[in-house]
Amino acid sequence: MSTHVKNEVLDTEPTHHASHIVSPKVYGVIFGALLVGTALTVAASYANFGIFNPIVALGIACTKAVLVILFFMHVKYSSRLTKLTVAAGFFTFLVLITMSLTDYISRAWGLW
């Protein structure tokens, strides 16, 4: 009996994994969007945007990655703990990249 009560407490915790079954239709739409994104990024590489070529390419890549993470990897339907974990990971990664590049760009400041 006591286990039963414990389970009810667990159910209200933020770590609760709601067993949400994503419909194949959603997977199909995301699949299509990823293929369109791939076509777009290849097409964009043939256009000349000057310095914006890498920015456009990375923008499309980030959008594709977010789609994969949210839907294929189920983060959209996951617990808050999982969402926080994923977000914290990417945030830490961005901090590391930003700090490395900040150091790189400012070390010889004014000397170039």
């Binding site: 414990k6 194949p24 791939t38 590489s45 990655a65 830490t92």
Partner: protein, 248 residues
């Protein structure tokens, strides 16, 4: 005393059956959901270390590309956009089949699950095959730093790359940095793919035996996370290595 001990004996034995639970629920978890949550949390922590690992390579690429820009532009022009695009499409298809596999496991459909896993396996192998073709081409063109490298293509661009400005010797040498990073990044990615398809083989056998269609699906789910992660790495590798320097 003795009779009492004997009387309690069956109770101890029955402890397992008493709180009836699914056979795949480990004893240190309260519920199946909690177990599932814990394992997916652990998998994500592993994937975060992988993000940091590939992130280091991406940062190195970013900085060296700024440093030896003409060499990186010339180097990237040697890659085949067609093969890169093909491989991106193949990998996205394999991510889709993997997601459908997890779905089949959730619905407890054994044959469907095996079918989707086999499709994922085949697509993974196609990706590796195309990658092998590309590596072979690099070898033939003497673009493998350390083993088989020549600056010829960059100091004296062939008729095929007419619009390519010839690089001075010192910058032409720096294309080796580009190709080193190309092989390090795609090689590490390919290693992850090889590990992935190897695990898939075992999963296909176990799925065929019905292990993942009785409610226990964390293994399939976590493998799906790994597979999608490898897909995401390629989603960034493809534009950075193949595409962004087309016009410079």
């Amino acid at each position: 005393m003795d009779s009492q001990a004997i009387a309690t004996q069956p109770q101890v034995h029955d402890a397992h059956a008493e709180h009836a639970h699914e056979p795949h629920l480990r004893h240190h978890f309260e519920t199946v959901e909690q177990q599932r949550e814990a394992s997916s949390f652990g998998m994500w922590l592993f994937l975060l270390t992988e993000i940091m690992f590939f992130g280091g390579l991406f940062t190195a690429y970013l900085i060296y590309r700024n440093w030896y820009y003409p060499a990186f532009v010339a180097g990237s022009h040697q890659l085949s956009i067609f093969l890169g695009t093909l491989n991106t499409a193949v990998l996205i298809c394999s991510s889709f089949t993997m997601a459908m596999g997890v779905h089949a496991s959730e619905l407890r459909k054994r044959k469907e699950l095996v079918g989707w896993l086999v499709a994922t396996f085949v697509l993974g192998c196609v990706f590796l095959g195309v990658k092998a073709v590309e590596y072979h081409e690099k070898w033939e063109k003497h673009h493998v730093p350390g083993l088989n490298f020549s600056v010829q293509d960059f100091t004296h661009p062939s008729a095929q790359y007419k619009e390519e400005p010839p690089l001075p010797m010192d910058m032409a040498q720096k294309t080796q940095v580009y190709f080193s990073l190309y092989f390090a990044m795609t090689g590490m990615h390919a290693l992850h793919m090889i590990i992935g398809v190897s695990i898939l083989l075992a999963l296909i056998a176990q799925a065929w035996a019905g292990k993942y269609t009785t409610g226990h699906m964390t293994t399939i789910e976590n493998f799906g996370l790994y597979w999608h992660f490898v897909d995401i790495v390629w989603i960034f590798l493809f534009p950075l290595l193949y595409l962004i320097s087309r016009h410079q």
